[in-house]
Symmetry: C2
Subunit: 340 residues, 2 copies
């Protein structure tokens, strides 16, 4: 009573193994009589196709891998929550990998190692990869990149319009009367493009409003987490001339920043307004709730998966494309005292 094979089913049904394969794969041109004979045999034997054998024969694994820097970052967890069912619906299993933002790890994953055979395509949110690193990749790997890493034309890129979104966030702070606005999260080095786009939006909003930018209010951080936000906020508040508002490059940063402000008995938003980015669930439940830029995460996840699967299915090279999902500003208590 071991596992039965295609051949066993064929024998019992009195057809060739190839016909069984046709039935199993839903090949259209099988007569109903044959089909039901085969299906009956399948049921009797409890047959299930051996995916491993199919993989070898077809050269495909039916798996895609999603690579994120940190799994415990709610933003990525929320993305995965849509990516996985979307991929499943299309018949793909999802492998998950975590790089800790480590460049070498990321390079290894996109390179031509043996693991390449395990997935038909990859969705990656790179942190440590430089633009050149990306072109070092296995050229046969269908790739969709999340976050900010302009495409070199051989892969797709899905994200929101970061400059516009950042501009809106800062414009919102200006609109509620703030004039000394800080930014937490800049990353002024080659792999920090995503952060730099937000900084660009930060400047653009100032320019549009005719306000000067105080460069010393732009604080760099290595990551986008709570601890970074808490530390940066402490530095800002230690100044003789602290800001009256802060634009944080993620909701986690905002959460850490607010934590520090409240610890110092400051009122948010009265003494200092804070806006974040990502719209993670925590931000809706904290005290105060966190105003934020809400990217359409479902759209991002679905676009990424669909596009990747299209790439996998295509025989000729597909031109790399920039896909923009929508975003919107959601004001909450951290910038407006009373929100519905």
């Amino acid at each position: 009573m071991g596992e039965s094979t295609l051949r066993d089913v064929a024998e019992l049904a009195g057809v060739s193994p190839r016909t069984v394969s046709n039935v199993v794969n839903g090949y259209a041109r099988v007569t109903d009589a044959t089909r039901s004979k085969v299906e009956h045999a399948i049921a009797v034997l409890g047959y299930r196709p051996n995916v491993l054998a199919r993989n070898l024969a077809t050269g495909r694994s039916g798996q895609i891998v999603v690579v994120v820097p940190y799994l415990d970052t709610p933003y990525f967890a929320e993305l995965l929550q849509t990516i996985i069912p979307t991929a499943r619906k299309a018949g793909y299993n999802v492998l998950v990998d975590q790089t800790d933002g480590d460049r070498d790890h990321e390079v290894e994953l996109i390179g031509r190692g043996p693991r390449r055979f395990l997935f038909d395509g990859m969705i990656i949110s790179p942190l440590g990869l430089s633009q050149e690193d990306l072109s070092l990749r296995d050229p046969t790997l269908p790739l969709v990149v999340l976050g900010e890493r302009p495409s070199d034309g051989t892969f797709d890129h899905v994200g929101i319009d970061d400059v516009a979104a950042a501009t809106e966030a800062v414009r919102h702070l200006i609109s509620i009367g703030r004039r000394r606005i800080a930014a937490i999260g800049d990353q002024p080095y080659p792999t920090g493009e995503a952060a730099q786009l937000r900084t660009r939006g930060f400047r653009a909003a100032h320019t549009a409003a005719g306000l000067p930018v105080d460069e010393s209010l732009i604080i760099s951080t290595t990551r986008f987490n709570r601890a970074d936000g808490a530390t940066a906020m402490a530095a800002l508040l230690d100044r003789a001339d602290p800001p009256d508002a802060v634009f944080c490059y993620s909701d986690l940063v905002a959460s850490g920043a607010i934590h520090t402000a409240l610890q110092r008995r400051l009122r948010v938003p009265e003494d200092i307004a804070v806006i974040g980015y990502d719209d993670i669930e925590d931000g809706r439940y904290g005290r105060p709730t966190i105003s934020t830029i809400s990217p359409d995460k479902k759209a991002i996840a679905q676009l990424a998966v669909e596009r990747l699967i299209m790439r996998i299915g295509s025989t000729e090279p597909v031109l790399g494309v920039e896909l923009r999902a929508a975003h919107r500003l959601i004001p909450r208590e951290s910038t407006l005292r009373d929100v519905p």
Copy 2:
């Protein structure tokens, strides 16, 4: 310039394919001379072993799957963060699946479907599975179960001592002078064992302190999320005789509960103390910070992976075992006004 195979390497190195295989797999009895010839050929051809072919030949996939109800629940995300690298170190890739707590989905995963071939073992945190469902599973599937689902002897179970932990949490509330203590998160139905253990601890602490249990203060919820916590807290506060403390069955529930309390201008912990469960990162940054039961998540993850891999490697059936990780009480601001 396609992919080269074991055979190509063998030809170039002037040895048999089997020898190349031996080198690639680190088989000990290969002379240094042969080994270096082969390694050179591998380098020249840029050969990488085809994992798909290896999988078919060995009948193993080298993958394990981790099945959780919700990926965006920080507790699971934090677990995965340890599970993945631990498995990777042992040479396994990790597939992730999400069930939304849906029983049918869970049953399908542990059953004998074709996907079975894709993983050598499974770590599952079931929500909808009843005890009988668990025995319906594919008996050849090495299985480790997280959360509370006593083993039937054919799989392992990793968790903390929930009754003891819950007892400690409630004892802590009693120790700070609270007498009307509510519980949010009971699940008084067959699949709610995990919750019921906490309820048992809740009662035990009362008994030990010689306090009566007000049954009407035990609130059931279907999930353990923020929304549930917020709703349940609202119901408690609407009572004529609201509680002075609440034991929440997860930190998310606590977060939602605190949110509701603060909205109603109550002070936490002065007016109502709250303690959670899980020790997720949010709880350390909210306002107030959330007192909690902190399970040793790293230990849970590592135990689960190690045990699973042991099971996979073993030829004879392994007796199911209950593995207990440590936990500890962490008092924070939601129960003590001033914490270091």
